[in-house]
Amino acid sequence: MTLLDFARGPALQGAAFIFVVGMVWRALGLLLLHRNTPLSRNRDNHLARHGFRTVLSRFIPAPVFERRVSFQYVAGWIWHLGFFVVLLFFKIHVMFFQGLLGFGWPTLPNGVVVAVAGITLGVLLWLLGRRIVNPVLRYISTFNDYSSLVVTMLPFITGFLAFAHYGFAYETMLALHILSISLLLVWFPFSKLIHVITLLPSRYILGVKFWRRGVQA
């Protein structure tokens, strides 16, 4: 069995299994926990609406912190969007999903995807450098922060090399690319990357809690 056979076969299968197990496990574990019963009267009668409002309002920086956190927000937006564009609109990736799901969707030209991937990787590298250089960020950073960043970057690096036929032979680079995705899948549910499923619900819960107490945030 070659490295590519292993990557396309057992590695991807095992990683996807761990990913699904981990995501369902953690999501269900959180859902089943007891919720606090409010002991005081609600100060607002449209909590659900305000909960959703908080979900949306947190997508942009709060005006009071705008100058301090805008870079973080913009950088975050760019690389998250870039990640989804590359993942979902690169032709060869859609071929992969088509093989898995049985259907595909329109894609973007390779030139556009390569440019987006370049920008995304650049932003991720910048954020990693900033985390290392900035004393405050460095102080509060843990292994989880660094590892999640690196594990997210690896598929971009290997993907670039595979696409450009640079470095090792194509089959080796493609195998490394698939293995890096497998690593990301395995790492995903057990690291801070789990925020993909917790981010929006936790914003909603926070919004409801604030508004119930009369905090308009």
């Binding site: 590519l4 056979d5 269900l28 032709k91 990736h93």
Partner: protein, 367 residues
């Protein structure tokens, strides 16, 4: 059998092949082998003075496609003359002799050229029931061991003898193995392909005659000069890959415009062979040029690497079953984690919110 006492030069002269044509062939061979042009006279000298080497061609579990391929080297091309000019002393399909006479011819060739003859093998060797493939009452594995014993080198012609090929594919009912699993004490060169390119085969023989050694091989025992680059790197459709222009089906506009066949399962990016450069049928075309993706036939286990029509970037084992099993296992673990979490919450809440007795509280306030 061809008369063995003549040299190749004498034989070509007898057949009316001009020296100019012969030197042209030598230059081409030097070029094919990626040797400097200065090597052409050396090849010519070696070939001219060389007595035709005895070649014993053994056919085991095969389809004769490799023999068919080499016979179509393009008559009267110089490759076919070279092939004709070697002393092919045993080839079950081509030789005139049959039965005991054929076996006797092989024995004679082995005895007269002990330690010097070349053995060409096409087909894999079954290790299961000898009845799967037996010639003249002798199993393939016995024949191979016996004939290879006095050989100078073994050339595995085609993917079956080089890597096991189709007989070796799952579930391998005959217990087929490649030659290299049986013969370990002789130089072996693998010339895989289903079938291999004729010029590759003749060039390997020419190299052996010229230098007395086999060409430089890669980690799979293939001549680097022919198997050093993948088909994708030399494919004329490569620019379409770079631009992301893929044929979606074999009859769509993209296919008609000659776009990349990656999506239709082409294995060119992972297949090392010279098809895109040397091509087939005297340089007419090769599978990708004919509109079909590469099957990867010169790579080990090409038959078991998933569908020929699935892109290389697709998963081979991941499916809905894996996801369903994951969801089920995750649900069980999640339910357990949720239950344990609730218990911990209940236990934690019981402590801080347990109101102390009123009397105690009063004492505390007083103290």
């Amino acid at each position: 059998m061809i008369r063995r006492q003549q040299t190749l030069g004498e034989r070509l002269e007898e057949r009316g092949i001009s020296r100019r044509s012969f030197l042209k062939f030598c230059t081409t061979t030097a070029s094919l082998l990626a040797l400097p042009p200065a090597f052409a006279p050396r090849i010519a000298e070696a070939l001219e003075s060389q007595r035709r080497p005895s070649v014993i061609w053994l056919s085991f579990q095969e389809c004769t496609g490799c023999s068919e391929s080499i016979l179509r080297a393009g008559s009267p091309s110089i490759e076919s003359l070279i092939f004709e000019a070697i002393s092919l002393d045993y080839h079950e399909t081509l030789q005139a002799a049959a039965g005991h006479q054929a076996e006797a011819a092989r024995e004679q060739a082995m005895a007269e050229n002990m330690g010097k003859y070349l053995v060409v093998v096409d087909g894999s060797v079954p290790l299961g029931n000898p009845g799967f493939s037996t010639v003249a009452g002798q199993s393939n594995v016995e024949t191979l061991k016996r004939v290879a014993k006095g050989a100078a080198a073994v050339i595995c012609m085609g993917t079956c003898s080089a890597f096991g090929g189709i007989p070796y594919a799952k579930p391998n009912p005959t217990g087929a193995v490649p030659v290299s699993e049986i013969i370990t004490d002789k130089p072996i060169v693998n010339v895989p392909g289903c079938p291999p390119i004729p010029a590759v085969m003749t060039s390997v023989i020419a190299h052996y005659i010229t230098f007395g050694s086999l060409p430089e091989l890669d980690d799979l025992g293939r001549p680097k000069v022919f198997y050093g680059q993948n088909i994708h790197d030399r494919c004329y459709r490569r620019p379409f890959y770079e631009r992301g222009q893929f044929a979606q089906s074999f009859d769509d506009e993209g296919a008609k415009a000659g776009w990349c066949l990656y999506k239709l399962g082409c294995k060119g990016p992972t297949t090392y062979n010279a098809c895109a450069v040397l091509k087939w049928n005297e340089g007419t075309s090769f599978p990708i040029e004919a509109g079909h993706g590469c099957l990867g036939c010169s790579e080990p286990n090409f038959w078991d690497k998933g569908s020929f029509y699935a892109p290389l970037s697709t998963a081979t084992e991941l499916g809905s079953g894996t996801v369903a099993a994951g969801v089920l296992a995750g649900a069980v673990l999640g339910a357990g984690a949720g239950y344990a979490g609730r218990k911990m919450q209940e236990k934690g809440k019981a402590g801080p919110f347990e109101a102390p007795p009123v009397a105690d509280a009063g004492q505390k306030e007083n103290s």
